[in-house]
């Protein structure tokens, strides 16, 4: 006769959830992106890393760097995670992201950046303020320079406070190209920046916006007024737009 205690002990050995191997081993993909191919590394909770292939170099070197930096094994992914390919074509909500390795502040900065609409730009200082730390402008720049998931979190839409486009992970030319694909008139923005204009208001509504805000772009030339700062716009009787919140 079998010992019921020993039998019950053996029954305590529940098998591992089928997800354990997926939890431990990440998957890599090479997929088309807006400026050529991108490499992506995906864990069971979402996309962990994305890099333009032209910037990251050879696939093997990219993967070896990932293994070293993150200490995680990575194998070819069986399929692209839901939403990744449409997001790289500029459509949809985007795939789930796994940003668990980042600090809470970095995650907040990326969450704020992810809410900047297509075809619009915001200054670093705006991101800092929206993330709840208005003085942490440089820290925002650092977080975005290390964005593990560019394109999916559109750090190319964050520009310098003086209107200059600023730097980008894979170079300024990529930033210009990405913004132009989204319909941003980069030459026009640069002209405004050179003229010291940071905000644009309409004298019919009395509302002042960032130049790329969809409200600002509807203002006709006759009613358009540029301002170097929000203070100056307020002094002139304008209130900040509720959508772009300058």
């Amino acid at each position: 006769m079998t010992d019921p205690v020993l039998a019950a002990l053996r029954d305590l050995a529940e098998p591992a959830p089928t997800s354990l191997a997926e939890r431990v081993v990440d998957g890599w993909l090479r997929v088309p992106g807006p400026l050529g191919e991108v490499y992506a590394v995906v864990g069971d909770r979402g996309v962990r890393l994305l890099r333009p292939a032209a910037f990251a170099g050879e696939l093997d070197a990219f993967l070896e760097d990932y293994r070293t930096r993150h200490g995680r094994p990575v194998r070819p992914a069986p399929r692209a995670p839901r939403g990744l390919l449409p997001a790289l074509r500029g459509r949809g909500e985007g795939p789930a992201l796994d940003l668990g390795d980042l600090t809470p502040f970095a995650r907040e900065v990326l969450a704020v950046t992810a809410r900047i609409p297509v075809g619009q730009t915001r200054p670093y200082g705006w991101v800092a303020r929206e993330a709840g730390r208005p003085k942490a402008v440089r820290a925002v720049g650092t977080v975005l320079a290390r964005n593990p998931v560019p394109l999916l979190v559109p750090c190319h839409r964050v520009v310098r406070g003086d209107g200059d486009l600023g730097q980008y992970l894979s170079g300024r030319a990529d930033k210009v190209a990405l913004l132009e694909r989204e319909g941003v008139e980069v030459a026009h923005l640069e002209a405004l920046a050179a003229a010291g204009t940071r905000l644009v208001g309409s004298d019919t509504t009395g509302v002042v916006c960032f130049p790329t805000c969809h409200h600002a772009r509807r203002i006709t030339a006759a009613h358009r007024h540029g301002f170097p700062s929000l203070e100056r716009a307020r002094d002139a009787g304008y209130r900040p737009c509720r959508d772009c919140r300058p």
Binding site: V5, L12, E14, A16, R23, V25, G71
Partner: protein, 187 residues
């Protein structure tokens, strides 16, 4: 399912592909021991995953000879138990701030070990009583009787002689039988 010799060859051939095979082969036993080591069921998979990642990081620093000599299962279980011990020490040093301090295992407040020991299901009572054993006895019982390891491997994981491993397992099992009877008497 691959045996350890095939797994070691696979690790030498391609560390990441080989490691995935290691997780698929030894995942059940590592998870089962994690389940009896972690306080909450929800932590068992985290603990097992963390132990496997530590094992992977160690393997990246091993040369082929060292991998070829590895006894994978006891090596993985040793890493698991060290990981669990470090986690407990860290948890004692700094209280959790992620809101997971209370067991959200079930919707109702989780019963304590004593209450769980009074439930009628033998498995539930044993699981609760296991948690009350001294660590060496509990580990020996889990390795020997829950996941059914040979005594030599239990000794390797506990870093003791086979005689000591056998004695830890026997004393733990005897204590479980005694406590089972005493909880029956009081109910």
């Amino acid at each position: 399912m691959a045996d350890d010799e095939q797994l070691r060859a696979a690790l030498v051939e391609d560390l990441d592909a080989g490691f995935e095979a290691v997780v698929r082969t030894h995942g059940d036993v590592v998870h089962a021991v994690a389940r009896r080591t972690a306080e909450r069921a929800a932590d068992a998979e985290d603990l097992a995953a963390e132990a496997f990642l530590r094992a992977y990081r160690a393997l990246r620093g091993y040369d082929h000879d060292r991998i070829a000599r590895l006894d994978l299962r006891p090596w993985l279980l040793t890493i698991l138990l060290n990981t669990a011990r470090n986690d407990r020490r860290d948890a004692a040093r700094r209280p959790r701030t992620d809101g997971a301090a209370d067991p959200p295992d079930r919707a109702s407040p989780a019963p304590g070990p004593a209450e769980r020991a009074e439930t009628t299901d033998l498995g539930d009572r044993l699981a609760a009583l296991l948690a009350t054993l001294p660590v060496a006895q509990r580990t020996a019982v889990v390795l020997r009787h829950v996941v059914d390891l040979p005594v030599a491997e239990v000794a390797a994981v506990l870093a003791c002689s086979e005689g000591t491993a056998r004695s830890h397992a026997a004393r733990g099992l005897a204590a479980l039988r005694t406590r089972l009877t005493s909880t029956e008497d009081t109910s």
